[in-house]
């Protein structure tokens, strides 16, 4: 993976830039020392690292605006960083860029339960938003698996999803408004605590723009009344075709489970060795979770079990207690850890039309064999969002590159069957060069044109999303 070469003028400007930034920020908010900058050299895509020119940790929207204004004047690129949990390299800097971290923007600004929204600074973690409203019976719905650590700013930048988005949608469906600092330091308010304000849907454009259009410092989020309870049921099947057919039948039935998770045999075995959740040894496993009162849960589960039985499951495990529910989720939740213990892995998140599931799984297994890598699949089955985990050995030369080649083949396959490169992690640097497989030149040009409007000089997270060769002219800059 390539990153653009740093510009010597920018590198040389470090002392002046640092002194100008120190003049507008608290004394400990400008990080210059090489050993401290190492903390900002990568995100969760840790195979790629590069310390930034500087890192700044502003505490207010005004301070962010001043930073942006200075960097804009000096022609220095800015790479926004939430909590650094991006799996796609969204927060990976270049040596001539400033990392702008929102970690110190952590305040709850307003809670309004009668109008059902919360306004927060964007450095708050996903889970802390729910924590701020749960005593009043509410929650914030998007639940990426990194929710303990990940920041709302990053959730908005990547339009994050989660296991429960089948019912509640992803970030864009739960975002009402933002305060955003533009590339030149201007502060804009988009949307607010109302539904469907008139005008172009700029909020929809900002959400998922991977920090390329502006820096979101505050967000108004929709909060929802917490359901009375939730309970999963687990099914084992002896083929992924049958499991896929069962998912389609559940979805068609009119039931709206909050989650339908799929695991294939390699993942089931890996998690059994690791977490001993007591999963059946079978080809495909589904975990279906429903919400509601005790009686509603029982009714829904009975209907789901009825549907599943028509597909001859090899195992049915119904939860009757909180402990059993935890045990059913245990394997799924430890799937990444289990794979991590077997080696290094790349986690992809291409999305496919659900009907293509069996064919795609078969093809992934074949591709894995050809490239010499084990691939396990966990999967948000309700919405076709795959998570193939490709195992490799980082200490063996060539293995990462070979795993990446396999990853690219799998993502191209997702696109070829009518899906897309990424369902919730974002493009970042990881899938940047594959964009031409999904989009025609005119499609990419249109998207880059939108960035031109917000950031004419391409100073905001410039080396992401678009293939380097395609964006080169725009990034030429100062």
């Amino acid at each position: 993976m390539e990153m653009p070469a740093p510009k010597s003028g920018r590198l040389a400007s470090k002392p002046e830039l640092a002194s100008r930034l120190c003049a507008v920020l608290p004394s400990d908010a400008v990080i210059e020392a090489p050993e401290e900058l190492k903390a900002y050299e990568c995100d969760a895509l840790s195979a790629y690292r590069c310390p930034p020119l500087l890192a700044v940790l502003p505490e207010t929207t005004e301070q962010v605006a001043k930073v942006m204004n200075i960097c804009h004047e000096m022609g220095v690129p800015v790479v926004p960083r939430g909590a650094g949990t991006s799996l796609a390299g969204g927060a990976l800097p270049t040596a001539d860029a400033v990392i702008l971290g929102v970690a110190r923007l952590r305040e709850v600004l307003e809670i309004n339960t009668s109008d059902r929204y919360i306004r927060v600074q964007s450095g708050m973690t996903n889970l802390s938003v729910t924590a701020a409203v749960e005593d009043e019976g509410f929650f914030y719905a998007p639940d990426p698996s990194s929710q303990l650590a990940c920041a709302i700013a990053g959730n908005i930048a990547m339009n994050s999803g989660g296991a429960h988005c089948l019912k509640y949608g992803v970030t864009t469906n739960n975002l009402l408004g933002v305060t955003m600092v533009m590339a030149d330091g201007e502060v804009v308010e988009i949307g607010g605590a109302v539904m469907d304000a008139p005008g172009l849907d700029l909020l929809g454009l900002i959400c998922g723009s991977e920090g390329q259009l502006g820096i979101v410092t505050e967000a108004t989020l929709r909060i929802l009344p917490k359901p009375e309870g939730a309970r999963p049921v687990l099914f084992g099947f002896d083929s992924s075709e049958v499991a896929g057919a069962c998912v389609a039948d559940i979805i068609r039935s009119g039931l709206i489970p909050v989650a339908i998770e799929f695991m294939d045999r390699p993942i089931i075995r890996a998690t059994e060795d690791f977490a001993e959740a007591g999963y059946p040894d079978c080809e495909a496993l589904l975990i279906v979770e429903v919400e509601g009162s005790e009686q509603e849960i029982a009714d829904q589960l009975a209907r789901i079990i009825g549907i599943a039985k028509r597909h001859d499951p090899v195992a049915i495990r119904e939860s009757a207690s909180a402990e059993e529910s935890t045990r059913i989720w245990l394997g799924r939740k430890s799937a990444f850890g289990a794979m991590g213990q077997m080696g290094d892995y790349i986690c992809l998140d291409g999305t496919i039309p659900v009907g293509e599931l069996p064919a795609v799984l078969k093809r992934i297994a074949e591709l894995g064999e050809t490239h010499g890598h084990m691939v396990g699949n966990v999967f948000h089955a309700g919405d076709g969002n795959m998570h193939p985990l490709i195992l490799y050995n980082a200490n063996e030369p060539g293995q990462l590159e070979s795993a990446e080649r396999l990853g690219a083949e799998i993502l191209k396959l997702c696109v070829d069957v009518g899906g897309c490169l990424t369902g919730e992690h974002g493009v970042g640097v990881e899938k940047r060069e594959l964009m031409t497989h999904q989009f025609a030149p005119v499609d990419l040009e249109m998207q880059m044109t939108v960035k031109d409007v917000f950031d004419p000089e391409w100073l905001l997270n410039p080396a992401k999303v678009f293939p380097l060769a395609v964006s080169a002219g725009r990034r030429a800059g100062r």
Binding site: V194, L205, S293
Partner: protein
């Protein structure tokens, strides 16, 4: 609305590209049933681009050409026990139009009905779009899968852009299974303050309400799902409301009630201008009090409401807060007051910048949104 005899009807995307390259400015039209903004130019109709190109009930996905009538989509979905969850309003009665509403028009207006309060707006169900820009280029964005964060989300941008950025030729949508049954609860709620208080309280509980409206002194709630579950939730609601509650069960009774709210039926054939308001529910009563309309309908728990006022009234100068869209008025009034609520200068500049990129020569619905 420009009343012009001349109308260009295209039969294919290639025709459309050619028309755009050679002509303009255009007023973009689907079925001509819901346009509220004013623009000058030759009417360019997408009605000829019709037909559902893909429908997979098992994956809740539908792809249709922009000129496909909504009625055709509704019928196709109903045959599989499915529907468009965002229940697009039919504004023909309110606006006095006769056309056939198209799915492209629905998406261009981001048109959503009462269920929006629970499930999201039209834009939340838009998975992908194909459109022709002002240079005559065919652009795709999004796709047909439920989760997609690949590149910038131009699908949301096109939804609700009222034909000012490009002419949509195809949209892909997520659809929803029909519930087993439906029930509407009618609760007496005298004034706007009381109505909002009741609706906010109920929407703050985990009852999964798919409608919360107030009209004619009555608050109405809609619940959808399995009968046992609805009976359970009604029990909880009755206990919490402690008021007289009337239950209306089944689609035959419920559909006309919610269609009436959706289509602003009480204001049809009643003289006066009609404004659509977007405010926080807790500000709704203040806005109503300040404007003092002839009549009002609350939807979305008070997040959206419709005002009927005397012709020529400038609602915006009277309201302390919120956004107002002028939906029905004479062209003279629309020109004087502008249909869409003015945005702050920064957003206006960004929006104008986007329009210049998408439509450099101003060929589409020129001046409609600002």
């Amino acid at each position: 609305m420009s009343i012009l005899a001349k109308k260009k009807a295209v039969e294919s995307e290639a025709d459309l590209v050619e028309a755009i390259r050679e002509g303009g400015p255009f007023v973009i039209e689907g079925g001509g049933s819901r346009r509220i903004g004013l623009a000058e130019g030759e009417v360019l109709s997408t009605r000829g681009l019709s037909g559902v190109t893909l429908y997979e009930p098992g994956t809740l996905t539908l792809v249709a050409q922009a000129g496909t009538p909504v009625s055709e989509i509704d019928a196709l979905l109903a045959a599989e026990n499915q529907r468009l969850a965002f229940e697009p309003p039919d504004l023909r009665g309110l606006l006095g139009r006769a056309g056939e509403s198209t799915i492209g028009g629905v998406v261009a207006a981001n048109a959503s009905g009462p269920r929006r309060v629970a499930v999201g707006a039209c834009r939340d169900f838009c998975l992908g779009v194909r459109f022709v820009d002002g240079r005559g280029q065919v652009v795709k964005n999004g796709g047909r899968v439920m989760k997609n964060v690949t590149g910038l989300d131009l699908v949301k941008l096109m939804a609700g852009s009222h034909g000012t950025l490009g002419v949509m030729t195809e949209v892909s949508l997520k659809v929803q299974p029909l519930p087993e049954t439906v029930v509407t609860l009618g609760v007496p709620g005298g004034d706007a303050v009381e109505a909002v208080a009741i609706m906010s309280d109920m929407l703050g509980q985990p009852y999964d309400l798919t409608g919360a409206a107030w009209q004619g002194g009555r608050v109405m709630f809609r619940l959808e799902g399995f009968e046992t579950s609805l009976r359970y939730r009604i029990g909880l609601m009755r206990a919490r409301l402690r008021r007289d509650v009337v239950e209306h069960w089944g689609t035959e009774i419920c559909d006309p009630i919610w269609r009436g709210i959706r289509d602003v039926a009480p204001f049809q054939d009643v003289p006066g201008d009609v404004w659509r308001m977007s405010v926080k529910p807790s500000d709704a009563a203040d806005v109503v009090h300040a404007v003092a309309p002839a009549d009002v309908i609350f939807d979305w728990g008070g997040n959206r409401f419709w005002l009927l006022v005397a012709e020529g009234t400038d609602v915006r100068v009277k309201m302390p807060i919120g956004h107002a869209t002028l939906v029905r008025a004479s062209n003279e009034t629309k020109r004087r007051l502008s249909v869409f609520h003015p945005q702050n200068a920064a957003l206006e500049r960004i929006s104008a910048g986007l329009r210049r990129k998408f439509d450099p020569e101003g060929k589409f619905n020129r001046g409609m949104m600002g």
